[in-house]
Each structure stands twice: as structure tokens, then as C-alpha cells.
Symmetry: C2
Subunit: 174 residues, 2 copies
DNA sequence: CCGGAAAGATTTAGGCTTCAAACTTCCGCG
DNA sequence: CGCGGAAGTTTGAAGCCTAAATCTTTCCGG
């Protein structure tokens, strides 16, 4: 999603197309497509800037953020995977790259040799501080089209949507 | 994302964590994390159901949707890539798999041998109809936590957010 | 003490995604 | 005509992601 596909042509996304469609179609579908388009648009731009400014990726950034938040104790791989809401095996790979880059260190836990802790190295901490500051600015910039009141309202509605979806998922998997 | 990671443990996502954070942090960031969490939650569930019910994926479904909407003329690869807002090379691979599965056919264009058209096969059309009906129901179900008024308000706010983000991206790339 | 279930982590196979580099075909201009 | 750039597509390298299988270590009940 990052860059409006290499060909610089006018992007006609699915959402725009559906708006023109025969209509009559479900309102929920239109809402969902817009939500998705909106999230993908912003996420893509953030990914692009992470790559251009810091030569890194969103998953790497997210993992560093988890470790920064976790403090000096660090986190196990499993804990990181739960917090990032991604699979276990996925974290193995991302962590391996960050270790190779010297931003993250693994320390064995003598009390439980299965679970080693992941921690930021000093360099990792410095690097994340730089990235994090830029990231926060980007988000503010990308959401600047909304007034604070809009932001609050959107936050509230998304909260409802999230709980509703969670309930639906919960119910479906019984 | 899709399934609360294989380990069935309680998911503590980044958004929840940030809410607990020292506070004082930017409102935009909280909004963004919630938007992302919400979109990922729903998208993940849709992906999961597509896999379980139809043994397919979201990109495949999206590509079929584009072709269905396009009518009997079909679309070139480039046109599909623009509409799906993904890279050119990406569509090559997805289309190749759909062709191998017999849901999509390529037809050469004698007038321009570079650009062949992609079209649904009869089987592709039938299959998409099945998937599409289920998909629409899923979305309605997952968004059922919102009243129609909530949905309308959310749709409107997301429209503003999208335009604002587009403007910011536009401005940044000048 | 010991045998099996449970937990943490890794591996494997397959798919999606991007960017950048190549390739083919088309088109316009000299 | 013929050549160079533009357009459409493909390929390759790298990374992200999942589900499922596997391996190691721990824990617990008998």
C-alpha cells in the first residue's frame, strides 16, 4: 500500500469504486471499505517513511516499542508475540534480524531455559528514541485534518466498533 | 490480527497498553493505534473466515471482486494493480495462482501485445458469488455493534481522516 | 522418581508484499 | 525507416506473516 503504486497514475481504490456502484448495497460494506482504505493509507505512508528515514520497517519498530515500554527486564518472545498480536514464529524472525543489527539482545534465563528475555541494547534504545519521535510527528501530521473534537468522536466510535467486533468474533467461535 | 495468536492467552494489544501508559502522550497516537487495532481485528477475522470457509485469501478475493465489477471486458494487470492499490509485481503472482486454479483467464489483446486482459471464468464467477455473499454477511455481523447512526458518523469522520491524510501525503511529497 | 502434559521457542511450507531491475512491445519523431 | 523513450509486465531479492509440526524444557501427578 505504501506508495500509490509505482505508476504514478490516479489511484482509484475499491472504496471509491464502490461508492459509484449500483448503490443499494449494504452500508456496513461501505463503512468497512472506508475504514480499511483509511488505515491502509496511513499505515502505508508510515511504512514508507520508516523505510526512507530510518531504513527500517513497521514490525521492527513495533517490536522495539514493546521492549522500550517493557523496561530493563525485557520480555520473552511469547510475551512480545501476544502484545503485538502476531504469531509466535513471526517474532522469532523479526527478533533475529534486530539482534543481528545490534539493536536487541537476548539473555538466557537460568530459572527457565526455555524462555530467554529480549532487551534493547543501548544502541537500540537510542535508535528507537530517534524513530519514535519522528513517528509521533508523522501521525500527528497525517491526522491533522481532524479537529480535536473529531478525533475524540472518532476514538469513541472506533472503541465501540472494536468491542462489537470482539463480541462478534467471540460469539462466532463458541 | 487474525487469531489471537495460537496461544489462546488473553490478548493485550498495543492499544490497550498505551491506554495504560503514563498518559500525557499524544491523542493522535492513541487514535491511530485504535484505528489500526480495529482494522486489523476485523481484517484478520475476515481472512480467517475466508480461509476456513473457502480455502482462499483476502487478496484473491479482492482480485475476483475487481474482475466481477469490471464486467466481461476484463481488466489489464496494471488496471487491477491501480484499483487494488498494490504494486504491479504483486498482481502478477496473485493472478497466476487464480489462473492456475481456473477462476481467472487471461486473454491476449491483438491490438497491444503487452497488455493482456484478465477475466473471470464461469467457475470464477460462480465461486466469487458464493464468497461475496458470505463476506457481506460477515461484515454486517462484525459491525453490528454500531447503530446505523454510529455507522453514518463513523463513515463521515473516516472520510475526513482520509482526505486529511491524503492532503498531508500530497504535501509531503512535493 | 518418572512419565506425560504443558509451555516456550523454532522450523517449514506457502503465500503476500515491496522495490528495483530487466524484458517486451508500442509509439512518435527525425 | 529506425531509434529512443514510454508503457505493460515479469522476475528476483528480501522481508513479513500464518499454520502446523517439532524440539526442548518444565511441571505435575502418581
Amino acid at each position: 500500500m505504501s506508495p500509490p503504486p509505482p505508476d504514478g497514475a490516479a489511484a482509484v481504490d475499491m472504496e471509491t469504486l464502490l461508492a459509484d456502484a449500483p448503490a443499494g448495497h449494504k452500508q456496513e460494506l461501505r463503512l468497512w471499505l472506508r475504514l480499511l482504505a483509511c488505515a491502509n493509507l496511513i499505515e502505508g505512508e508510515v511504512r514508507r517513511r520508516l523505510r526512507l528515514s530510518f531504513d527500517t520497517t513497521l514490525p521492527r519498530f513495533d517490536l522495539l516499542a514493546q521492549l522500550e515500554r517493557a523496561g530493563p527486564e525485557g520480555l520473552t518472545l511469547g510475551e512480545v508475540s501476544r502484545r503485538m498480536m502476531v504469531s509466535n514464529g513471526n517474532v522469532t524472525g523479526i527478533a533475529a534480524r534486530l539482534v543481528a543489527e545490534g539493536l536487541v539482545a537476548r539473555r538466557a534465563n537460568p530459572a527457565d531455559r526455555r524462555a530467554g528475555a529480549l532487551r534493547l541494547t543501548p544502541r537500540g534504545r537510542r535508535e528507537f528514541a530517534r524513530q519514535s519521535a519522528a513517528h509521533e510527528g508523522w501521525i500527528a501530521e497525517l491526522l491533522a485534518g481532524l479537529t480535536p473534537a473529531d478525533q475524540a468522536a472518532l476514538h469513541r466510535l472506533l472503541g465501540r466498533a472494536k468491542s462489537g467486533a470482539l463480541a462478534a468474533i467471540e460469539e462466532a467461535s463458541e
